[in-house]
C-alpha cells in the first residue's frame, strides 16, 4: 500500500502561530545562555553602570576575567580537584557497575525487575535527605573532607545510571555471539573480556562520560562533605565566590568554565541521555 508522505495541509494561520511559538520557545531557551556568555566577557563598565541600563552587549568585551581566573593558582587547583574526583568516581562506578550490568543484562534472574528496583531504592531518597546520614557516617569514619569520601558519595549517585546504561548497552549485543564462543570452548571471563566488552564500549563510554559530568557539576554532596575543608571543587569554588558581593563577570566566567564541558558532551550524549532521563526521572 502506498504510504503518503507526512505532508500536512499547511494552513497559513496555523503555521504562523506555530512558528511564533517556536521562536518564543527558542528565545527562552537560548537567551539565558547568551546572557551568561555576555556577562563572562563583560568589562566592569558594562556591569557597574550606576543606574543607566545594562548594555545587551558589553561596551568593551574582554577576556580579562578569564585571564584573571586562569592566573589564579587556586582556580587551577580547584579544577584539578574536580577532575580527579570525577575520574575517581568514573573508575569506581565502572568497576562496580559494569559487572553488575552484565549480570543483569545477561542472566534470566527471577524477579529481575525487583532487584533493579531494590538497587536504585537508595536513590529514591532525596539527595538533601540522604546527605545528612552520609555526612554523619563519613565524619565517624574520618572520611569527611577527603577525596575518598567525595568519590564514594559521587559513586553512589552515579552507580544506578552506570548499571542502567550498561544494561542497555549489553542487551543490544546479540546473544548468539556468546553462544558461539561457549560452543568453541571459551569460559565466561574470556567471553566477557574479548567479546562483550569491546562491543559494549560505545554504550559504556557513554556511561563513563555521563558519570564524569555528573561528578563534575555535583554540588549538594560536595558541599556537605567538603564545605569547610581544604579540598574544593569547581562547584564549591563558584559557591564560595557568591558570598561576598562578587563581581558578576567573575561569577559568569566561572560558570562558563563549569558548564562548557557539560554542554558540549551532553549534546554528544543525546541518545543515551533520553534513556538516562527516564531512569533519572526517578531521581
Amino acid at each position: 500500500m502506498d504510504k503518503p508522505h507526512k505532508g500536512l495541509p499547511v494552513d497559513s494561520l496555523k503555521y504562523y502561530v506555530w512558528l511564533s511559538a517556536l521562536l518564543i520557545a527558542v528565545f527562552m531557551v537560548i537567551s539565558p545562555l547568551y546572557l551568561l556568555i555576555k556577562y563572562a566577557v563583560s568589562d566592569s563598565s558594562s556591569i557597574n553602570t550606576g543606574g543607566s541600563p545594562i548594555p545587551l552587549w558589553p561596551y568593551h568585551p574582554t577576556v580579562r576575567t578569564f585571564l584573571y581566573l586562569f592566573s589564579d593558582r587556586q582556580f587551577y587547583s580547584v579544577i584539578i580537584n574536580s577532575i580527579c574526583i570525577a575520574l575517581g568516581t568514573v573508575f569506581l562506578s565502572m568497576i562496580l557497575g559494569v559487572p553488575a550490568a552484565y549480570v543483569l543484562a545477561r542472566y534470566r534472574l527471577p524477579g529481575r525487575k525487583l532487584i533493579v528496583l531494590g538497587l536504585i531504592s537508595v536513590r529514591l531518597f532525596p539527595d538533601i535527605s540522604s546527605i545528612i546520614p552520609i555526612a554523619e557516617f563519613f565524619i565517624r569514619l574520618n572520611l569527611h573532607n577527603t577525596y575518598a569520601g567525595v568519590i564514594l558519595a559521587h559513586t553512589l549517585l552515579a552507580l544506578p545510571y552506570v548499571i542502567f546504561i550498561g544494561m542497555s548497552a549489553f542487551e543490544t549485543i546479540p546473544g548468539d555471539l556468546e553462544q558461539q564462543a561457549t560452543v568453541m570452548g571459551a569460559n565466561r571471563f574470556q567471553i566477557f573480556y574479548s567479546i562483550l566488552l569491546p562491543l559494549a564500549i560505545p554504550g559504556l563510554a557513554a556511561a563513563a562520560l555521563y558519570t564524569f559530568l555528573l561528578s563534575w557539576d555535583e554540588f549538594i554532596f560536595s558541599y556537605f562533605l567538603l564545605g569547610l575543608g581544604k579540598i574544593s571543587t569547581l562547584t564549591l569554588y563558584l559557591k564560595q565566590k557568591l558570598t561576598y558581593s562578587p563581581p558578576q563577570n567573575l561569577l559568569a566566567t566561572i560558570s562558563v568554565c563549569l558548564s562548557l564541558p557539560v554542554i558540549m558532551f551532553s549534546l554528544l550524549l543525546q541518545k543515551y541521555m533520553t534513556a538516562g532521563i527516564t531512569s533519572g526521572s526517578v531521581k
Binding site: M1, D2, K3, P4, H5, G7, P9, D11
Partner: protein, 370 residues
C-alpha cells in the same frame, strides 16, 4: 449522495510526481474501486478526495461544489481507514457518535442514529464495549458505522478488508454490497486485491504509477483490457505474455510467438490485416488455453501447441499447469481436477484464437480496442 469529479489532478511529493493529470468521474450512487499495485497512488488520490492531502494541480468537485480548498472537516465525505482508527479511549457508542457530537446534534437524535447504525451493521449490544474488547471484524464494522451515521455524500474506504482473514473477508464483502444497496451512497473503495474490486464494484479505476490505465466495469476490464498492465493485473492466474509478430501463414492470419504460431479468429484476422508484419506483445489468459483432448471440441480458430509439463499446482477445483514449449518458453494453463498429469509429460493444448490480446509494444495499449 453526490457525484465526484476529478479533473486533471496531479500530486507531487518533492520532485517526485505521484499522480499525473488524472481524470475520473464517479456517478452519484456508484461503487467505484481504485485498484492497483502498491505505490500506484490510489490511497493518495483517496486522501485528496477526503481532504487529508493537498491537491497540487487540478480540480476536485463533489456534488458540483469545488472542494480543493475546503478543509477536511467541512467536507461531506466520510472515510474508513485500513486500521479502522477507532478512538481507543472511547466506547463503541462514543466512537460512532463522535461526528454527531461534533456537529452538536441533540442527545435524543444521536441515540436514535447510533441505534440505527449499530443494528444495520449487526453491532447491537456492543455499545458499551471498548475497541480493544471487540474482534477485528467488529472493529471494522464500528468504523463503518461511525462513517455512515453522518450521512455523508461520499463514503471513502481505504482497504478496509485487508486486515481480516479470508472467511471474514467474503462475508464483509457481501455486507458492504448489501449496505451499498441499502443506503445508496457514492462509494469510492481502494484496494490492491482484484477479487474485492471485481466482486463489489460498479466500475473499476485501474491505476498504475499515478496514471489511470483503465476505467470500466469489471466485465469490460476483464474482457477488454485497454493496456498490457490491465491485462496482466486483472485475472488470476496471471496472463501469459509473449513477444511476437503479426504474420500471414498458409493463408491464415495470426501471430508468431516463440512458442508457436497462433491463429486468429475471423474478426481478429480482419482487423489485423492492415498491420501484418508489425511487432506485437501477445497476451493469452490461462483460462483460454485448454488441454487438447477428447473433451475440447476443436474450433477452427484454435491453435494446437505441444508443451512439456513442468509443474502442476492444485487450485481446488482446478489445477494450474506450468508447461514448457518451443524455445524453452513457459506457458500456463488450467485443467480440471480429474486430469492426471505428471511433470515430464508431453501435452497438447489449444490456444483459443478468439481470446488473444494484442498490445502495441511501444505504448502497451490494446491494439484491438473498439
Amino acid at each position: 449522495m453526490a457525484d465526484v469529479v476529478v479533473k486533471g489532478i496531479s500530486k507531487y511529493f518533492g520532485e517526485h510526481r505521484v499522480i499525473s493529470d488524472l481524470d475520473l468521474d464517479v456517478k452519484s450512487g456508484e461503487f467505484v474501486t481504485l485498484l492497483g499495485p502498491s505505490g500506484c497512488g490510489k490511497t493518495t488520490l483517496l486522501r485528496m478526495i477526503a481532504g487529508l492531502e493537498k491537491i497540487d494541480k487540478g480540480d476536485l468537485f463533489v456534488g458540483g461544489k469545488r472542494y480543493n480548498d475546503v478543509p477536511a472537516q467541512h467536507r461531506s465525505v466520510a472515510m474508513v481507514f485500513q486500521s479502522y482508527a477507532l478512538f481507543p479511549h472511547m466506547s463503541v457508542y462514543d466512537n460512532v457518535g463522535f461526528g454527531l457530537k461534533i456537529k452538536k446534534v441533540g442527545r435524543e437524535q444521536i441515540k436514535q442514529k447510533i441505534a440505527w447504525a449499530l443494528s444495520m451493521l449487526n453491532l447491537d449490544g456492543l455499545g458499551d464495549r471498548f475497541p480493544k474488547e471487540i474482534s477485528g471484524g467488529q472493529r471494522q464494522r464500528v468504523a463503518l458505522a461511525r462513517a455512515l451515521v453522518l450521512d455523508p455524500d461520499v463514503l471513502l474506504l481505504d482497504e478496509p478488508l485487508s486486515n481480516l482473514d479470508t472467511t471474514l473477508r467474503d462475508k464483509a464483502m457481501e455486507e458492504l454490497k448489501r449496505i451499498h444497496g441499502q443506503v445508496g451512497k457514492t462509494i469510492i473503495y481502494v484496494s490492491h486485491n482484484q477479487v474485492e474490486a471485481m466482486t463489489m464494484s460498479d466500475r473499476i479505476a485501474l491505476l498504475n504509477a499515478g496514471c489511470l490505465e483503465q476505467y470500466d466495469t469489471p466485465r469490460m476490464v476483464y474482457d477488454e483490457p485497454r493496456t498490457l498492465f490491465s491485462a496482466s493485473f486483472i485475472g488470476s492466474p496471471v496472463m501469459n505474455v509473449f513477444n511476437g509478430q503479426i504474420e500471414h501463414e498458409d493463408d491464415m492470419m495470426g501471430v508468431s510467438t516463440p512458442i508457436g504460431f497462433f491463429i486468429f479468429d475471423k474478426e481478429t484476422a480482419l482487423r489485423t490485416q492492415s498491420i501484418a508484419g508489425s511487432e506485437v506483445i501477445i497476451g493469452v489468459r490461462p483460462q483460454n488455453i485448454a488441454r487438447a483432448d477428447h473433451y475440447a471440441a476443436r474450433r477452427y480458430s484454435d491453435t494446437m501447441v505441444m508443451v512439456t509439463v513442468e509443474l502442476v499446482q492444485s487450485l481446488g477445483d482446478r489445477s494450474l499447469v506450468v508447461g514448457r514449449g518451443e524455445n524453452e518458453t513457459i506457458i500456463r494453463f488450467l485443467v480440471t481436477r480429474e486430469d492426471d498429469i505428471r511433470p515430464g509429460q508431453q501435452l497438447p493444448v489449444f490456444i483459443d484464437g478468439r481470446k488473444i490480446h494484442l498490445f502495441d509494444p511501444l505504448r502497451q495499449t490494446n491494439m484491438l480496442s473498439k
